[in-house]
C-alpha cells in the first residue's frame, strides 16, 4: 500500500483554560489519500476544527505527528510552516474571513502577494479564479456588497490562489442558506475532481454524497460510524429525558 498524502498519528491537543485542561484531541490517527475527498463529521466541540487547523499548519499539536507529503509539520520551524500554508494548503473558513476594505479580486490575489507574484500576474490570475467560481462580474465589489454565498465563493477562489494540493474547509456551508451551501459543495467537488485533495468539516450530511471517505469524531477521538450513531442516539435520548423532566 502506498503511503497516503497525509498521515496523522497519535494526535493530542490540550488547551489550558484558567487551570482546567481541555482535551480537544485525544489520540487521533487518520490517513488522507492523495486526491481523496474526506468529510469529517462530529458534534459541536468534538475537535473537528482543531484537527483541521493542525492539518493546515495553523497550530501545533501538543503531541503526535503530522506528515504531509515528505514534510513533518511538527518538526517545521515557523518560517517553513508559513511556506507550507502558503504553497500546500488552501483554507476555507465558516466565516469567510475576507478583508472588508479590499475588493473581491484583491482578496483573491492576496495570498499571491506573499508568494512574490507580480502585481499584474496576481490580478490576472485572481480574475481567472473569480471566473472559475462564477463571480467574474463581481470582481470589483467589496465583501459587504456580496451575499454570503458569493463571499464564500470568493473565499474558495482565494484558497486556490497559490494552486495548493490540499483544500481544507471548516464548515464552509455553516453560515449559508441551503442553495448557496449546495453550490459551495459542488465547487468543492469540482476541485476534488480536478485532482486536489479535499478535507471538509461539516454538520451537513449532504456533503457525504461527494466524499470518498467519511470520518466521525466524538470527544476528540475517531470513532466508527456505528459507534457514532449509537452516541448520537444516546445524546438524543438524554435530550429527550431532559425535555420530559421539564
Amino acid at each position: 500500500m502506498p503511503t497516503p498524502f497525509a498521515r496523522m498519528t497519535g494526535l493530542f491537543k490540550t488547551y489550558n483554560l484558567g487551570g482546567a485542561t481541555i482535551q480537544a484531541l485525544n489520540g487521533v490517527d487518520m490517513d488522507i489519500e492523495a486526491g481523496s475527498f474526506s468529510v469529517i463529521m462530529g458534534p459541536s466541540g468534538s475537535g473537528k476544527s482543531t484537527l483541521l487547523h493542525l492539518l493546515g499548519g495553523l497550530d501545533r499539536p501538543t503531541n503526535g505527528r503530522i506528515e504531509v507529503g515528505a514534510q513533518m509539520l511538527d518538526k517545521l520551524d515557523e518560517n517553513a510552516l508559513a511556506i507550507y500554508r502558503r504553497k500546500t494548503v488552501g483554507f476555507i473558513f465558516q466565516s469567510f474571513n475576507l478583508l472588508p476594505t479590499m475588493t473581491a479580486v484583491d482578496n483573491v490575489a492576496l495570498p499571491m502577494r506573499f508568494a512574490r507574484v507580480s502585481r499584474r500576474e496576481r490580478h490576472e490570475q485572481a480574475l481567472k479564479l473569480l471566473d472559475k467560481v462564477g463571480l467574474a462580474d463581481r470582481a470589483y465589489h467589496k465583501p459587504t456588497q456580496l451575499s454570503g454565498g458569493q463571499q464564500q465563493r470568493v473565499a474558495v477562489a482565494r484558497s486556490l490562489a497559490n494552486d495548493p494540493q490540499l483544500i481544507l474547509a471548516d464548515e464552509p456551508t455553516g453560515n449559508l442558506d441551503l442553495s448557496s451551501g449546495a453550490s459551495i459543495m459542488r465547487l468543492l467537488s469540482e476541485l476534488h475532481k480536478s485532482g486536489r485533495t479535499v478535507v471538509v468539516v461539516t454538520h451537513d450530511a449532504r456533503m457525504t454524497r461527494y466524499a470518498t471517505q467519511t470520518v466521525h469524531i466524538i470527544d476528540g477521538q475517531v470513532v466508527t460510524e456505528a459507534e457514532y450513531e449509537a452516541v448520537l442516539a444516546s445524546l438524543d435520548e438524554e435530550m429527550g429525558e431532559e425535555e420530559e423532566e421539564q
Binding site: 487547523h53 493546515g56 495553523l58 497550530d59 515557523e78 518560517n79 508559513a82 511556506i83 500554508r85 502558503r86 504553497k87 483554507f91 473558513f93 474571513n97 478583508l99 476594505t101 492576496l110 495570498p111 502577494r113 506573499f114 508568494a115 512574490r116 502585481r119 482565494r158 490562489a161 497559490n162
Partner: protein, 450 residues
Amino acid sequence: MTFAELLSTVFENLGRRKGRVTLTAMGVVIGTASVVVLVSLGIGLQRSTTEQMGAIGSLTQIQVYPGSGDSGPGMVVMKSAGGGSVSVSNVPSDQKLLTDVALRELAELPGVTAVIPQEYAQGGGMFSFEGLEGWGNTVGIGVKDMSVLGLTAEAGTLELSHGTAVIGHYVPRNFFDPRQRMGQEQPEPPDLLGKQLTQTLEKWTDDGSGGGESTRKMLQFRVVGIIAESGGEYDYSIHIPLADVTAINEWALGRRISRAKEGYSSAIVQVADVNQALDITAQITEMGYQAYTPQQFIQGLNSVFLIIQAVFGGIGAISLLVAAIGIANTMTMAILERTREIGLLKAIGATNQDVLSIFLGEAAGIGFIGGLGGVLIGWLGGQIINVLLMAYMVGQATEGGGPPPSMTIYTPLWLSVFSLVFATLVGLLSGLYPAMRAATLVPVTALKYE
C-alpha cells in the same frame, strides 16, 4: 515580500485608515517641526555670530606675547604718563621675551610666513586736527607694508615710513568738536587722508614724595592711508613705524630701550594655512610664549553653540517622544483591531517576518509622513519668524542708526534630512513592540480573536 511590495502594502494599509493615521502623524509633525525650528535657531545664532567674528581677526594670524615664566620674579616698573598711574608687571627671570632672536626663531617654524613685532605707544594722549579732538591707540608695526597682514587700503597706501601714519576705518569717526555742547549736532567725520595729525604726549616725572611734574611733547604724523574696514582692532588704531613708537616710548620712559634685551610687547605670527594655525599656536605656547589665535575662540564658541543646539534639539526631541508614545498606542490598537486580519495573513502564507515588516513599515510610515509634514512646517515657520524678526530688527537699527544686525534662523539641508530620518526611526522604534507581538501570534488564536 520584496521591498517595493512591502512599501505598496504599507501605504495601502495606511490609506485604509486615513483619519487615524493623520491624527497620529500630527503628533510627529509637531515634534519634528519643533526640532527643526529650534535647531535652526541655534544654527542661525551660530552663523550670525561666526560671521561677525570672522571680523575679529584673520584666521591665519597668531598673536604672540612674552611668556610669563613662573619662578624668580623680578620687577620692571613702567611709568605711564597719561594719568600718572604706575603699572607694574611681574617679570620672572626666565621669562620668554620677544627679542629679535626670538622673532627669528618663530619665523623659522614650519608654516610661518612672517613674524611682525608690534608695540603700543606709551603716554598716548589726545589727537587734534583742525580744532577737532580725537582718540585712538598708536601702534608701531614692524613691517614696511601693512598689506602683509592681509589688510587692504580704502584710500592712500598701507606703506609706513617715518613721520607718517596709516589709520583704521573708524578713526575719523572718533574726532569731535570739544566746544560743542550736549545735544548739538556733531560735525561729519573729517577726511584725514593726506592731513597732518598732532598728538600730545604727556609724562609724569615722579619726585618720590607723591608730587611731580608733567612734561608734554607734541608729535606730528601725516596720514598716508586709511585701512578698509577689517572688523578687528585695526579699525580703531593709528599705525606708525615701529621705530617711531620706540622713540616715543624712550621719551616716555626717559631711557633707551634695548629690543635685544627687553624684546617687543607683542608680535603677529602669520601662517600660510588656516588649518595650521591651531597647531602652530600650540607649538609657540610650548616654546614658553603666550599665543592666541581667533580659532581658539571660535572653537570655544562652537562648543557653546553645540550645547545650545543640543539643548534646543533636546526640547524638540521631547515632543517627538510624546509623538512616539502616540504611534505606539495607535499601532497597539491597530494590532488589537486587526488581530483577525493578522491571523488571516498568516493562514494564507505570510511569514512572521512578513507580518513584522508590514506593521513596522506602517509605524515607520506614520513617522515618515509626520516627519515630512514637520520638516515642511518647521522650515516654513523658520522663514516666517525670519521675516518678522528682520522687519523688527531693521526698524530697531534705523532708529539706533547702526547697521542692521543679521540674526536669522537657518535650516540647512542636513537638518531636514536628519529630522525626516529621525522621525521615521522614532516611528519604527515605537512600532517595534506592537509589530513583534503581531508577528508572533499563533494563526488560529488570531483568527478566533473577537
